[in-house]
Structure formats: C-alpha cells, structure tokens
Amino acid sequence: MKPNKRMLTILIPILAILSTLPLYVSGYIISLLVTILMYAILAVSWNILSGYTGYISLGTAAFFGIGVYVTVMGWPAGFPYPLLIVLGGLASMIFALLIGFLCLRIRGPYFVILTFGLTEAVKSIIEQVEVKIKGGMFGNVLVGAPSMETFYYSLLVICIITVVTDHIIRNSKFGFGLSSIKGNEEAAEAMGVNTTWYKLFALAISALFMGFTGAVMALRWTFIVPAIAFSPMASFQTMIMAILGGSTDFRGPLLGATILTLISEAFGIRFPYHYMILLGVTLILIVKFLPMGLLGAIRGLRIAKKQYGSLLSP
C-alpha cells in the first residue's frame, strides 16, 4: 500500500481536524482523547512486536513505566519536557535490548508469562528502591505540569510517528522478516532470516514508543506510584485492544484502542469491577469467534463476497 491519492484525501482532513480539535471541543473531550492516543500508541507499538512476530508480550507496562519514571526523576531536576520524552523512550529501548536478548529465546505461553513476570519484577524493584530512599511509600508528586493541550499535541505527534513507522515496517523487508517468524520460525531461519536480531529490533522499536508515551503520561497524571506506572492492566488492555481491532496493520490497534477506551470511559469509572469482567469476556469472545479481530472479520467477509458474490446475487 503506497501513499496514493485516495489515502491522502482521507488522511489530510483527518489530520486537519485532529490538529485543530482543541480550538472547538471541551477540555473533557481533550482529556479523553489524550487517553485514547495513549492507548493507540501502546497498541500500535505492541503490534510491531507481537502482531507481526506472534510473540505475545505482557511487558507493555514495563516499557511504559520506565518512561514514566524517567520523567518522575527528571522533571523535579529541571529537565525540559521534550528532552524527558526522548530520554524516556531511549531508556525504555535500552532496557528492551537488554532483556530481549534473554526473553526472546523463549516462545509461546512461556514468553507471555515471562514478560508478565518481568513487569512485576521491575515494579517491585522500583517500589523497594523508593522505600529505601524516602523511608516509605509516599508516591511522587510532579508540580508545574504543562497544559492538557500540550499532552494532546505531544501524543498526537508520537502517535503519527508510530503509525508511520509501523506502515514503513509492514511494507519493508524488515516486515517480511517479522511475518515469516510468526509463520514458522525455523523455516524463517532456513530461508536466511536472522530471527534473533529481527525480534530484538522489533522489541526495541516498540519499547521506544511505549517509553515516549510513559514520559508524557507521568506529567498528565502528576501523582505517580509504581503500581500506577507499572500497572499490569495497561499490558492487558493494550493486548486486548490490538487483538480486538485485528493485528494486521496499524488500523486494527487504532480501532481497538478507540473502542475500548470509550467503553472503559462509559463503564470503567462507575462499575470498575464489572468492567474487568467485561474485559475478560471480550477477550474470550474475540479469541473464540474473531481470531483475526474486527478488521480481520470485515476483510474475511469481503473476500468471501468477492468469491461467492456471483452465487449470492440474484
């Protein structure tokens, strides 16, 4: 898919609306959009590793949380906001390179459990360090945070970069390599794909964007404890969003992130426990009935229509 005329005629108005939105919608809508954008970036970057290679990761919260903690440490020290975003992404990426070298040798359910455990481990370590330094769990308060519009625009820019990166990867040699790993890792090796490096690069790129997002969200939330920064819910939600939308290209995760954030906004605050049940049931239903996600199901219908259309039409 090359950036053709039809795509541009859809993209330009969308971008124009998104970039001028704070001028004519309420503050509430903007804060809602910030949450949607946050999950959109997480879900698209999750897709770069897990969607393409099939290595399902529950480590999202770890990469996100490291970004959060870069801001927690850097903001009181007077680091400028844009620099914190860059540092948050880089710290997360370096962490991904270090742990990826070990984790990515393990496949299937073991990889899922390992990434989940890893997130919990990072959370506990940071908790312990905080208690040691401050003498107790007092949390971190960030004062003098930028405006909601600033968060909106920074996340919008990060989201666009993430989507463009995803699009470039999907249509490149790199993307073919990642897909072949999902298809059959041994056959991929036999065909000359350096699977170890490919997986590691995919993980690093996805961690980079998650780290950027974490660094921004720390200032959006202003009160940070490890349980918020490294919340396993972030990992689960991201995964469910990407799978719900369909992890073929960036459109699936974007769709999933939007739908689930809106549902969570409608139910999550009033009925937090019911929402958790809903999330679990959603995951089961998708895996059972829509393994390719919403967009995958639509594509399936379209192909079926093309093949059998002549039989069905009168």
């Binding site: 390599g177 298809g183 041994e186 036999a190 350096n194």
Partner: protein, 243 residues
C-alpha cells in the same frame, strides 16, 4: 569441484547415535540421492548441514570453507537452501509473500520490488500461477510442496536439499516433480541433494546414491550398484514391501 564435503560427521541425541562417523560429499552439478530405512538419520544429516543442530563430531565444508558452527540463516546466505519433510510454509502469508521471503533474505538479498518480480517467475516455474494471493495455510498438499520448492529456489541456492519433496504426491505429480528437479540441475545449474522414499524416482534421476542405515553410511554408488548391493538389500528387508 566438491560443493559439500562432510568428514566423520557424528550427532547423538542422548544415548542414541543418530549419525556416527558419516563421511559424504556432493560434487557441483550432481544429483545425489540419500536413501535409507526409517530412522536412518537422513533428515538429521540435512539438519546438521543446515546447522539446525550443532555437530558432536566431524566437520562439514561448503565450497572448501567450514560451515560447522554457523547459524542456519548464515548457511542459507552462503547458498544452501532446503525444503522440509513436513511442509513449513509461512501460514499467515500469501503464496507470493512466502516466495518473496526467500528472495529477500537468501543468497540474492534483493529489494522488495525485485523479490515481487522473482516470485512471479518462480510461481510460473513451479506451477503456482494464479495462486499468488492465496494464504499458504489454505493450499492443498501438492501445492504446499510446490511452494516449499519455490521458496527455497527464491533464495538462489547453489545446492538444494530436498527432504522428501515427492511425499504425498500422486504418480503423475511425481513424474512432474522429477522433470522439474532435472530442469533445476540442467537449466539453472543447481546441485541437488535429495532424501526420497519413492525408490523408482530417486533411482531414476540420481547420478549417485548414498545409503544410510542406523546412522551409518552402508553404501554409496550409482543407482545400479546400490540396488544390487547385498548390504543395502539386507538393510531394507521388511521395508521393501511398501516401496
């Protein structure tokens, strides 16, 4: 010229010697058949050549330089491609994309655009024309075998290791496959090293045959010599009924 040269190759799995002191060679431009009863170590030999398993003893050289200890993807980039006994296509990708992976990452390492063009030619060559956009997972078994071959060819190998490419094919498809393999050698200059259970076909096209039994090389020679060798006949007793 010796393309592939193995000296005293050994491989154990626990207490079982899958290969013990096997020495073999394949010359440039040859079609060499590798036969032997079930469990003889034929697929294991392919797996150690492709460096899927590390060797426990001996060395394997490709064009005079040692390949033992390399990673599978490095072996492929040097010019050794293989097919799998149980087809391992990339189920999530289309036929065309499967073949493109070979062009992109194998010995030729071309661009996406070149790979796309090469895929079209290879689909034509292997009889997959018109199936470019079908997902590999939904191919029938004969087409899945064609795809394995096309994908391996896309890597532009100098030697092709074929692991029972004819398994599950009907007689007319077997005849077609034999013709195709001869064309690979005669027109494209690719050396062939093939494991095959269908005796008629392997005897029919091989220049030379290597026989393995219980991890040892028990015979080597022209198809005629091998089929008259009493040691080979003995090793196959009880197996010959089905072939």
């Amino acid at each position: 010229m010796r393309l592939l040269d193995g000296q005293n190759v050994s491989k154990h799995f626990g207490g079982i010697a899958a290969l013990s002191n096997v020495s073999f060679h394949v010359d440039e431009g040859e079609i060499v058949g590798l036969i032997g009863p079930n469990g003889a170590g034929k697929t294991t030999l392919f797996n150690v050549i492709c460096c899927f398993y590390p060797l426990d003893g001996g060395t394997i050289k490709f064009k005079g330089s040692k390949i033992t200890g390399l990673k599978p993807h490095q072996v492929c980039r040097r010019g050794i491609a293989r097919t799998f006994q149980i087809t391992r296509s990339f189920a999530n990708m289309t036929v065309r994309e499967n073949i493109m992976v070979g062009s992109l990452f194998g010995k030729s390492r071309g661009s996406v655009k070149i790979a796309r063009e090469e895929a079209i030619q290879l689909m034509e060559f292997t009889g997959l024309t018109g199936k470019a956009d079908i997902l590999a997972v939904s191919l029938i078994s004969a087409d899945a075998r064609r795809l394995e071959l096309a994908r391996a060819l896309a890597a532009r190998p100098e030697i092709l290791l074929l692991d029972e490419v004819m398994a599950g094919l009907n007689p007319s498809e077997v005849a077609e496959a034999m013709k195709l393999i001869q064309r690979l050698r005669n027109e494209m200059g690719i050396t062939i090293f093939m494991v095959e259970h269908i005796m008629k076909s392997v005897m029919g096209i091989s220049d030379r045959i290597i026989v393995l039994a219980s991890g040892r090389q028990i015979a080597e020679g022209t198809p005629k010599e091998v089929s008259e060798n009493p040691v080979v006949i003995e090793a196959y007793l009880g197996e010959t009924r089905e072939t």
